[in-house]
């Protein structure tokens, strides 16, 4: 499967663009761990709101902090939120979805109605609810976005399972004496995986955007730590004086979200089994 994958992937333009953007994002996040041009949270008030220059490639913000360093720190925040939120959604969602599809009957009914209830609450509402209960913070917004992701993965995996469990290879697996759990893990799950990966990539973009939105509203990342949404919020009040302050975090969000969406689109084409078979 893998050689095929790379063969098709290289021919897919949107996959390649997305892939490059995401790799760049990942490299930024890793580099930030060891090096930023300046301390991203240390204020240097005499140097406030400087335009981009050799010393500060993207200028400084209202407290004299280096914008580039803060955007780099923001990339870590974004990736962390994406990984945790999509992780929560995938682990719980897929488990529930696969179980629901295999077990059927009242299990299926109960789980899926529960998922409908969860699905009815948008991520932002969840996050506002959680932060008013537990206080604002990055952990709570990650949890809220993660919970929002659960029903999405549950529905998708259940659909895949319902299709796959009627197929011949499943019947064959049962007939040689494998148990339900073994069949689910070994035979059904790998065959419903590709749409989940595609969805995961797209949900990653959604998670980054939601975190930015929540931080913008003041529920996400708390100062002094940087997040792109928070930077936008702070820049907004200074729009009339220094519009560049809002441009760079906005661009960062746009690039990251575009990257994940392109990657997701590309993956959908590349991982399409019909495509694989026909070539």
């Amino acid at each position: 499967m893998w050689p095929h994958f790379f063969h098709y992937a290289r021919q897919n333009v949107s996959f390649m663009i997305g892939f490059v953007l995401i790799v760049l994002l990942l490299i930024t996040a890793i580099v930030t761990e060891f090096y930023t041009p300046y301390d991203p949270i240390k204020m240097r008030i005499p140097h406030r709101m400087e335009p981009p220059s050799k010393n500060h490639l993207l200028g400084t913000d209202q407290y004299g902090r280096d914008v580039l360093s803060r955007i780099m720190q923001g990339s870590q925040t974004s990736i962390l939120v994406g990984v945790i939120a999509v992780g929560i959604g995938m682990v719980f969602g897929i488990t529930l979805g696969v179980w629901s599809g295999l077990a059927g009957g009242w299990w299926d009914e109960t789980i899926m109605r529960l998922m409908d209830v969860l699905y009815a609450f948008p991520a932002v509402l969840n996050a506002i609810l959680l932060s008013s209960l537990l206080g604002p913070g990055i952990m709570n917004s990650m949890m809220a976005i993660g919970v929002y992701n659960i029903p999405i993965f549950a529905r998708l995996s259940r659909g895949g399972v319902l299709g796959a469990k009627e197929l011949e290879y499943t019947a064959a697996a049962y007939s040689i004496g494998r148990g339900r759990f073994g069949v689910a893990c070994k035979h059904i799950f790998p065959n419903v995986l590709s749409p989940l990966i595609v969805q995961g990539t797209i949900q990653f973009a959604v998670a980054i955007l939601s975190e930015a939105g929540l931080s913008y509203l003041g529920f996400g990342t708390q100062p002094p730590f940087a997040s792109w949404g928070r930077m936008l919020r702070e820049a907004q009040t200074f729009m009339g004086i220094d519009p560049l302050l809002a441009v760079f975090p906005g661009l960062a969000i746009a690039i990251a979200v575009l990257g994940f969406n392109l990657l997701g689109d590309g993956l959908r084409d590349v991982l399409d089994p019909r495509l694989m078979k026909s070539r």
Binding site: I41, K42, M43, I45, P46, R48, Q62, Y63, S132, G135, P136, G218, Q222, P223, P224, T237, F238, G240, I241
Partner: protein, 546 residues
Amino acid sequence: MNGLAQSIDRALEEICKDWNSMKYRWMRFILDVPMNLHNRLIISLIIIVVGLSSLATAQTTGGTLTVAVQAEPDGLNLILTPATASYQLVMYNITETLMRYTADRELVPLLATSYEVNEIDSGAEYTFHLQSGVLFHNGQPFTAKDVKYTFDTLLDPDTASPNASPFAYIKEVVAVDATTVKFITEGKAASLVGYLASGKGTGIIPRGSDMEALRSNPIGTGPFMFSQWIPGDSLTFVKNPNYWKPGIPYLDKAVFKIIPDQAASLAALMSGDVDFVDRMVAENAIQIENDPRFKIVSGPQNLAQLLAMNNARSPFDNVLVRRAIYYAIDRDEIITATDLKPEWGSPIGSHMTPMNPYYVDLTGMYPHDPSKARELLAQAGYPNGFDTTIYLPQPYQLHVRTGEIIADQLREVGINCKLEIVEWGIWLDKVYEQWDYDMTVIGHDQGLEPAANFTKGFMRAKEDGTSAYYWQYTNYFLRELLDRGNETFNVNERKMIYAMVQTLIADDAVLIWIQDPHQLEGMRAGVMGYRILPMYVFDLAPIYLE
């Protein structure tokens, strides 16, 4: 001959009293040029002619002023509401007080003409002589009985006024005759006259007024009459044609538009929908500052912004730690970063602002000195600093930003602050009610009457005598001193007492006093005469349109 020249000088000064100081100084310059009497007489005549003509055209009457204000009033009867948004519009404009504060912070008579104080055994007797020939907006004449009615209603327990407490020591108000009223107080209440000029609910209302009716239709003796209130949108005041001071007011009409969003009010000013934006944020003010179509009038607003520490909680119960924090903080940096221009904020060093006539400048007591701070922390037993939390009230951007900078400055000396930006309701509950906090940044609206600044924070006590205010600072000596201050009539003696009070609390570093962020009023260039009052009141009377 010399005597004649001097008397001409004096006459000129008299005529030109209303001129602003610039013009006046220019005139003095000419008068100081050595000249013979002949020349001097000619120049003086020219100046008198020019001066009189410019005085005549200086204040044009008529026109409508539209002002963007941030908050909607909570009813317009100041006896019934503590809301600043109501006070701001009604005080001095619709209702008038016996005494008032001027923009120069002087306490002058308004509806009174003069007053005397007599100390008697049980307290004091204030006798006010009143203006005659003043009419209320409903045509009723103003007399001493109205003053008595106002204060009887304010102090009546059935009225349950939230603004009555500063006047609790008034035993009786007596209308001696139509133009004389006497306040008899229990205890030597030296603060009464100041409170009469600035307290909420001290505006005189016509006797027999219905409290509920005044909420939506306020009546007073002021230069403006209430006309219309469209909830959520605007309030309209119109000129009082029978106002007792001749020639005032200049405006025909004033409309207060309620625009809570700062960006929207800036846009309204730019597009000409409003002439005036009350209390702009610095980010907006700096944008129109250099635009010739607009101007900014700025000045201290008598707000003490401070970093409050829970004095009853470790490590803030240690004065060395509190002083260390003081040394670690750089006020100038905070002012530059939050007010955007150094001249848009005044540093303060104690629980008063430079607006107050009793203010003592103590900003030099703790200069910015991180190494001194580290030394003090080590002495207090925290050589490596400690971890703490700062609660910041989310609706007040200024305090949030200040908190962020303070956290950064404290990190320098090893104190790690976690920032908790909380809703206003949570702040009130956690910090102000339950005292469950380490540190917080907040602003305290200060009065001009010095006693008012200290009553809550330094006098209020629980049954066991310890402080009953959120910073929980208990000092019995200080309380004695404040009691003395409240009972002393001699101004110089009073000044001494309050100077001691300010020094004492600054030395104990009870709180970290930061700044009085200036009030920034943005307006069309043609709006003239506006002056910032040392209280949260929008004074319409001196404004005219060019």
